[in-house]
Amino acid sequence: MPDTNDRDIAVLGAGMHQWGKWGRNFVEYGLVAARAALADAGVDHRDVGYIAGADTIRNGYPGFVSGATFAQALGWSGARISSSYAACASGAQAIANARAQILAGLTDVALVVGADAAPKGFFQPVGGERRDDPDWLRFHLLGATNPIYFALYARRRMALHGATLDDFAAVKVKNAKHGLNNPYARYRKEVSAEEVAASAVVSDPLRLLDICATSDGGAALVLTSMEYARRHGIADPVRVRALSTVTPTFPKTVLDLPDFATDSAVAVEPPPRTFRSAIAHAAYEEAGIGPADLSFAEVYDLSTALELDWYEDIGLCETGGAEDLLRSGATTLGGRVPVNPSGGLSCFGEAIPAQAIAQICELTWQLRGRAEGRQVDDALAGIAVNQGLFGHGSAIIATR
């Protein structure tokens, strides 16, 4: 694979606050993560030229303007700043902003921070009665919670590709094992297929242990120009090679939260790639590498079944091949291309604005060979992907 690109940026520092239900303010999680990333990079926060915050909608104004909130918590330093909200891709949008500033030569060092304090149970629309808001309406008129959508995808896999409940359980068993030694994971406990099968059905065919929890958590990165990294004495840093935040292409023919309906394909043929695969494809194009070059992947396992969809969407196998790939052990640590070596959302839960940043923390630690207890052998390239509401999603490729 080509080993350099004039759009590369360096990941000098990665940091997290352990995920869980801590009952504290999101600012604290973000500050802990930011301090950890700065310490990891050996950078004083006063040298940061740009602070990119990934927003949370559940914490009032400080959450809506998280860039400023984290900047204040760190101590106002006069840095340039941004705040980004893009549901599950919020962290990636913040990284994208930081990357653009670095590549434009406007700053050498950027700090990206995301943190959340998510409520227990089902996510629900923000308060108030809003009869023109599709996210409010899908709850009111359909009772279509997020797990309903996950279960629709799961059932479709069963009908089309012969996925079984045992396959879904095997994803949980795998990810739980991966996360056992991850100090930042919320759940660090082995799970058996029997335990998955014995857990309550939330939305048939998915059970409680098939669906990721909501969490508190924080993650941060220190990103720099390649030139700054070299001046800083790091000749061969982990680098971000590609960052895709592409939208779907009309007509989008797969239901996405909070859709009532897909686009119609009456006037235009569906695009060659679905939204999720388009996100990954754009990143591969930009990085100049393909799925065969990947050492591992971090994918957005909102449900166990959804992880199988991602195998196909990021090109680890052909459509319909995910069950065989899983059963072969290829996606388990020690296999050809481990998926979610961090333990994934299965072990972390959702702390929405932090998640895409946390994925890049894991990519960084893996590519440095420092992911103790969950290290992918000879990790050279990794991809991280997610999908959020209303057509937001991201794919990021990092290499060493």
């Binding site: 008129l141 009772g143 629709l152 009908a159 309550a200 897909t262 119609s264």
Partner: protein, 140 residues
Amino acid sequence: MAEWFTAEDGAVRLVGSRCDTCGTPYFPRNTLACRNPQCASPKDGSELAEYLFSTRGRIWSYADARYKPPPPYVSSDPFEPYVVAAVELEVEQMVILGQVVRGFTVDDLAVGMPVELALGVLYEDEEAEHTVWMWRPVDA
């Protein structure tokens, strides 16, 4: 949400809009502008006319809710699980979500099963019985 569907004489139809120029139908109703980027319409909303959807399709996928969802869903007390189906309409070449009429469970359904539009009671309060479109399995 009376403007989303009609149920005159028991005939339930989803009400959306359709682009006069390219023929793309929209549900829920789109009044802003045709969203087909290849469409040459003026894209100022004048190209969008009211459209009544076809009433039969096949199940794309389905799922149920075993736990009480949060508001703004209005749950019965005690909570009764409900089923949601995503249904592919052949005419419009699109998938539309709806609850499945009460009395059916996921065990009664299958991907590809034909369904038709029906009227169902979403919830009742002191003011009224609030109805919504639902999908009902039918013989092929």
